[in-house]
């Protein structure tokens, strides 16, 4: 009995030793900053002088901060109207790329290419496309008689502009969906064909359930990414000579407001509190998605 325990202990020690580089990195560079930020969120801290304990004052202030709510709304907007349509779009492209046509690998490369463009460069490029008077998008819209919005200056059109731009960068999602699609066993489709299922039925009842684990993964990663939305919104306002947040703070996203509080207003404590609220929101949403997943995610062999 003791011999076994001893052996186990030894193995544990060896194991810990082997992962110690990671363990060290995790403790020093991840866990400790996270815990520090929790501490800072309960203080008034300006980066230079030592933090002053204020209890939950930052959280109380946050509850009254209308700009915080606005930034949260903007972030939710881009999540709801950006993330899900973009996932659907990526799936559609993946379905197309999954067909057996000539030059497939070339198409795949082309659809993936925009993903390689850095966010800042891509944003600047899109600002030209979205130029209200000379931009390609409005020229096309005008040619077919549709209204030509003032994309970059009208507070109502800024978020849609960013969402539109987001479709361009869905290459990674597409590739991941493509991988999932290629994992769906062919025999299901054969069996369905014999039973006389239509293409829609095959998609609805075979493809979608079969790739649902990938959808779950992409939804969760997308949620996290979307709540940290920053660069594109920052660049849009900056290069238009607008102040952070753009016209009427239409593109003041949560992460941007957090950044402004931390590095412009030097309210590091408040910014930390905002970070923790963000963490809690994303955490809860992730749990909700996970809980609901038993209803719509199917793993091979189950059910």
């Amino acid at each position: 009995m003791t011999a076994r325990k001893q052996r186990e202990r030894k193995r544990l020690r060896a194991g810990l030793l082997f992962i110690s580089p990671w363990l060290f990195g995790f403790l020093v560079f991840q866990l400790s900053p996270i815990l520090m930020s929790l501490y800072y969120s309960l203080t008034e801290y300006n980066l230079f002088t030592s933090p002053k304990w204020v209890g939950f004052a930052n959280y109380a202030e946050m509850a009254k901060d209308s700009k915080m709510y606005l930034s949260l709304y903007n972030t939710m907007f881009i999540t709801v109207f950006g993330l899900f349509p973009q996932l659907a779009y990526a799936l559609a492209v993946a379905l197309l790329l999954n067909r057996n046509v000539k030059g497939l690998s070339l198409y795949r490369t082309i659809y993936f290419l925009p993903t390689l463009v850095p966010a800042v460069a891509g944003s600047l490029l899109w600002m030209w496309l979205l130029n209200a008077q000379y931009g390609l998008i409005n020229q096309v819209l005008g040619a077919i008689g549709l209204p030509e919005p003032n994309w970059l200056m009208d507070a109502h059109w800024l978020k849609p502009s960013l969402i539109l731009m987001g479709f361009w960068g869905t290459g990674t999602t597409t590739i991941m969906y493509l991988a999932a699609l290629q994992d769906v066993p062919k025999m299901y489709y054969e069996a369905a064909s014999i039973d006389g299922a239509s293409a829609w039925h095959k998609f609805r009842h075979i493809t979608l359930p079969a790739i649902s684990p990938m959808t779950l993964f992409l939804v969760i990663m997308g949620l996290i990414g979307s709540f940290q939305y920053f660069s594109q919104g920052y660049v849009f306002a900056e290069s238009n000579n607008q102040s952070i947040g753009g016209p009427e703070n239409a593109i003041l996203f949560y992460a941007i407001y957090l950044y402004q509080n931390a590095f412009s207003f030097l309210k590091m404590g408040y910014a930390s509190a905002m970070a923790w609220l963000l963490f809690v929101i994303v955490f809860i949403l992730t749990i909700v998605v996970f809980k609901s997943s038993s209803k719509w995610v199917f793993y091979g062999g189950d059910r």
Partner: protein, 454 residues
């Protein structure tokens, strides 16, 4: 028995590690608390004496700046001359250090010795204890601060105390106008008053048959919403001596209402649409170069080669409100600041470098290179500037830089929040969502509590 012994051993190791870590940590905090002491007048007064006893060793000064490209090269060349001129101090410049990098270095405890930064960082950073106050050095050495352009030096002050020195300044106090557009419209002279400017702007604004603006006389918030320039033109201010915010006083409100007038006259949507098609500032599609926009606020470093006598862009003093001729020559000053971080190791040497950089010849050389305005009053009359044909486009700026009506935004710990609030509310007023008075009342309501707290 064996097991117990091993456990004990690993426990001891753990304890040792913990102790080492806590020791290292306490050492860190100790050195942090000890350093500010070295910036006390007594300590800094003692160091030159100590230096003269021992054989002199060159002190190396780390000098950070946010510049890139030419801006950085110009500073480098000035500092290279300084390094050659003496053998006590060796200055090492490091460019491309933006505000965030500066913030990180200073708060991380490894501050450079001297830093160039944007003037509005001085307020929050000094209030946070990151910037060395300079009054003791100024007094000790009898440095005469009145030789510096007051509007530039004022930006370096927080609650009346000096936290930095300007190295150069920029200034918006002129009206730039497209000569050809004026001629075509039969306008012989640039406007003198703001009221005249509005009339001329109406004459110079044209719409096509669909109602789209194709040419504009003036856009008050081009190229950006300026919440400092406009109130200054109307003689406004932002805070009084009792710390009460004054953004909602009449002069400030008038300045917002004046700008809103343009939006009322020409239509918010129409202007927004017109603006969206304008090319970037000083690009080949620049609206004032292409004849789409007739007038704009004039900074000293814009269109340098294209403005002045016989050139396509005319320069005139910025108009003043008709009812207030005493405000003639008003304008906004935006200096570039240099400061010594509170934790810097060689404040004495850094102070010497500052004094070198604000000396007359260096000011002239540096600002000629940068195309900015010297911050030293006497330099403005120096023949090296006023009779140098190369700096000709700057002459009228040098002259007007002496005007006492030049002002700037007061520096404070809450400056960035104040400016942000002004921006947001001014935008609402320009769009006609609220009145100018409401907008400025909102700002005061929002920022006064923050100002009182700090």
């Amino acid at each position: 028995m064996l097991k117990k012994g091993k456990q004990k051993k690993s426990f001891v190791v753990l304890l040792a590690i913990l102790m080492a870590v806590s020791l290292a940590l306490s050492a860190c905090t100790k050195s942090k608390t000890a350093e500010p002491g070295s910036t006390s007048p007594a300590a800094s007064g003692g160091s030159p004496a100590a230096a003269s006893e021992a054989p002199k060793k060159k002190v190396e000064i780390q000098f950070w700046n946010p510049f890139t490209g030419d801006g950085a090269t110009h500073l480098d060349s000035v500092m290279a001359k300084f390094n050659e001129s003496q053998n006590e101090i060796s200055v090492k410049t490091l460019s491309n250090q933006d505000s965030q990098k500066q913030l990180t270095a200073i708060s991380g405890g490894s501050a450079p010795d001297l830093v160039i930064t944007y003037w509005n960082n001085i307020g929050p950073w000094s209030a946070a204890g990151a910037v060395r106050q300079l009054d003791d050095l100024i007094q000790r050495d009898g440095y005469d601060t009145t030789q510096i352009i007051p509007a530039a030096l004022d930006r370096m002050k927080v609650d009346g105390k000096v936290y930095g020195f300007p190295i150069s300044m920029s200034m918006a106090n002129k009206l730039l106008y497209n000569r050809k557009m004026f001629e075509d419209a039969g306008i012989t002279a640039p406007p003198e008053t703001l009221e005249e400017m509005f009339d001329i702007a109406k004459k110079l604004t044209q719409k096509d048959d669909k109602g789209n603006i194709v040419q504009m006389g003036f856009i008050p918030d081009y190229p950006w919403i300026d919440n400092v320039f406009w109130p200054i033109i109307f003689g406004g201010s932002w805070v009084d001596s009792n710390g009460k915010l004054t953004a909602n006083q009449k002069a400030n409100v008038d300045s917002i209402a004046y700008q809103a007038q343009y939006y009322k006259e020409f239509g918010e949507d129409a202007i927004a649409k017109f603006k969206s098609g304008m090319g970037g500032l000083e690009t080949p599609q620049d609206p004032i170069l292409t004849g789409k926009l007739a007038m704009m606020i004039g900074w000293e470093n814009w269109y340098v080669k294209k403005r002045g006598e016989g050139k396509e862009i005319g320069v005139a003093p910025f108009p003043y409100p008709q009812a207030h001729p005493e405000l003639k020559g008003s304008g906004m000053v935006s200096p570039v600041a240099m400061f010594i971080p509170a934790k810097a190791k060689h404040p004495e040497e850094s102070w010497k470098v500052i004094q070198y950089l604000v000396s007359e010849d260096v000011q002239i050389e540096y600002n000629t290179l940068q195309g900015s305005i010297p911050i030293l009053l006497k330099a403005l009359d120096n023949p090296k500037l006023t009779q140098n044909e190369e700096t000709k486009p700057m002459w009228e700026y040098y002259e007007s830089a002496k005007n006492p009506n030049l002002k700037g935004f007061p520096n404070s710990i809450y400056i960035n929040e104040y400016l942000q609030a002004l921006n947001e509310e001014t935008e609402k007023a320009l769009k006609g969502q609220i009145s100018a008075q409401e907008a400025m009342d909102n700002v005061v309501k929002k920022i006064q509590p923050i100002a009182d707290k700090k």
